[in-house]
Amino acid sequence: MLQVLVNSIVYGSEIAIIAVGIALSYSILRFANFAHIQYAVVGGYATYAGTKLGLPIVAAIAVGAVLVGGLAVLVDALVFSRLRAIAPEGKMIVSWGVALFIRAIIASVFGGSAIIIETSSSTIQVGGAIFTSLDLIVVLATVGFMVLLQLFLYHTRHGSALRALASNYDLAVTRGIPGDRMIRLMWFVTGAYAAIGGSLIALETRLQPNMDLIILLPVFAAVTIGGLSNVFGAVIGAFVLSLAQNVVIAVDFGSLLGGDPWFVPSQFRDYIAVLAMVVVLVLRPASVRPANA
């Protein structure tokens, strides 16, 4: 069972670092950004390109993060900033278009086949649970970047400004907080975090242009479980979801019910993620007052 916990933590870390960006942009702009997950994929490809150009991996990830942060700011300047006033669902549709465009461009440049970033990692065994040095780096990096985000949001002036914008945008702006500039900063941070998350997933597994469609549902499920606009809720959501996915598959329901061993087939992992998302959304406190009360 310890191994199940380890697996959950590793997968949860991969999801969490991407999920926080969606929660951050949602908290300020009420904008569930589908393109955000594509930023993660672009980050992975940027890291790959960096290593091909001879950069060490850490430097490649850093450069990728800055580039994708810039990309997120650019996309905002070209598209999203012109559409601040439209309904949240309209923004979601536009972001889908942006994601589709970026995905197709990535596939045109790098091809549709999967790409591997070669790494060497060693196996570590702790009390019956096995993981790799890379897993450890991924988890530590996630924890590190979460702490960093926490420090940024709660212990810097810019962070406080972002939180003020999140809690009441108009009020914050009238109090003199430069809304537009802070939004650009927010996009840069979310883009960079997405790129780091995407690079870590790429190192752990592989890169393909449609990777965003595969991690879309788990990431959105994590953000939803965490309450959509709560940055650290998204992290908790990622780990809760990951644990649920791993535990449901690992439990012998057959024996529990007194019969032959029976497990939930492992391909139901996605199913669990989507189901969790729907159930949380249906049960969450009402977001509109029923008009026909």
Binding site: Q3, V4, N7, V10, Y11, E14, A107, G111, G112, S113, A114, I116, T123, Q125, I130, F131, T132, D135, I201, E204, T205, R206, Q208, N210, M211, I214, I215, Q245, N246, I249, A250, F263, P265, S266, Q267, R269, D270
Partner: protein
């Protein structure tokens, strides 16, 4: 208004291109449908390249009766509707007599229905559903049905003295077909399947799937699958310390992730043709044309598909009905990159040459042949 502009643009492009189009009256056009976007892109591209290698070879040798083969490659997006759009275009607009296709049965069967209705030929290089036998005279499979190979695999593992296995296959017709056939043969020989995993293709991580296999503690694993996914599966298995032998259907289409770990661990039943002279020539042609790119076994199936088609067309010309009637004769005596080809009366490949191969020191070695 915008539509008119667009149509005008298309029309202009058409006129401009018509003048310098490389299509000439003495060309023979043959269609290829593959999923160039969506999932399994790499394997699909490999198959298309195999067809291309065959076309180059035939054209260099003077074409078919003096005519040059021209290939038209269409994308299926791995979607039924788009595969049909591609096939309708090829059969109806480009007037090709035959299409060589890569894709799952959800695409292949839909196109087979169309080909049957149109009286055209379809060569299947990738799908292995039993339903494909419903199109005799229309559909011809280069890939043998899974049950033949799966059965031999199951028997082979039982002979090794192994008592318990887990099956790890992709959740598609090919994977489940292998798991069923191999599992049944293994059980018949007294073995036990302790865990069946059918994983979702294209996932970034199969840790949870492999964890469930570790928990079941099998003595060996029965597997099937394609390049990218198999690599991730091996990686996760290795990391979780799943150090048991892997027995696979078509191990050569796997991508081995860690040479040292996999050394001596992976073996299975594969097509016995790749290592013959034709196979070697195809491999050499591939390496010359796409240097530095790793080939997959799908190139051999694409190659053979066009070769047998061309052999039939050399005899009877471009009438699809005549081609379909000639194909079973055309393969007689042909030893292709996937070995000798024989079809039953449903156009399904039977008696493929089967070899036992093992992964040793970074490459596969043939260790035996199944009669």
């Amino acid at each position: 208004m915008k539509r008119n502009t667009m149509l005008a643009a298309i029309g202009a492009a058409a006129l401009a291109m018509a003048g310098m189009s490389p299509v000439m009256a003495e060309d023979i056009t043959i269609g290829v449908i593959a999923n160039l976007t969506g999932q399994d892109v790499n394997t699909s591209v490999q198959m298309a390249r195999g067809v291309e290698i065959a076309a180059d070879e035939i054209n260099k040798a003077g074409g078919i009766g003096g005519k040059t083969i021209k290939l038209i490659v269409e994308d299926s997006e791995y979607k039924t509707q788009e595969a049909l759009t591609a096939a309708t275009k090829l059969y109806d607009v480009d007037k090709v007599p035959a299409v060589i296709m890569f894709g799952g049965s959800s695409l292949m069967i839909a196109v087979a229905e169309l080909a049957k209705q149109e009286g055209k030929v379809l060569i299947n290089t990738s799908s292995s559903s039993a339903k494909l036998g419903d199109y005799p005279g229309t559909l011809f499979s280069i890939l043998p049905l899974d049950d033949i190979l799966g059965k031999e695999l199951g028997k082979y593992i039982a002979k090794k003295g192994i008592k318990t296995v887990a099956t790890v296959v992709p959740n598609n017709t090919f994977g489940l077909g292998v798991a069923d056939a191999a599992g049944a043969a293994f059980k018949e020989a007294g073995g036990k399947v302790v865990k069946s995993v059918a994983y979702t293709e294209g996932q970034p991580d199969y840790r949870a799937d492999m964890q469930s296999v570790v928990a079941a503690a099998p003595e060996a694993i029965i597997s099937a699958g394609y390049g990218d996914d198999s690599r991730t599966i091996f990686k996760n298995a290795r990391e979780l310390g799943l150090n048991v032998p892997w027995f696979a259907a078509y191990p050569s289409i796997f991508t081995v992730e860690n040479d040292a770990w996999m050394n001596g661990k992976l073996s299975g039943v594969d097509n016995g043709g790749y290592s013959n002279d034709t196979g070697k020539a195809v491999l050499a042609a591939y390496k010359a044309k796409w240097p530095g790119e790793e080939p997959l076994a799908h190139i051999y199936y694409g190659y053979d598909a066009l070769k047998v088609l061309a052999a039939a067309m050399a005899k009877v010309g471009e009438d699809p009905k005549a081609i379909a009637a000639e194909l079973p004769n055309a393969v007689k005596g042909y030893v292709g990159a996937t070995g000798a080809i024989a079809w039953d009366d449903r156009g399904q490949r039977i008696d493929p040459p089967l070899d036992l191969i093992e992964y040793k020191d970074g490459k596969f070695e043939t260790v035996g042949t199944i009669q």
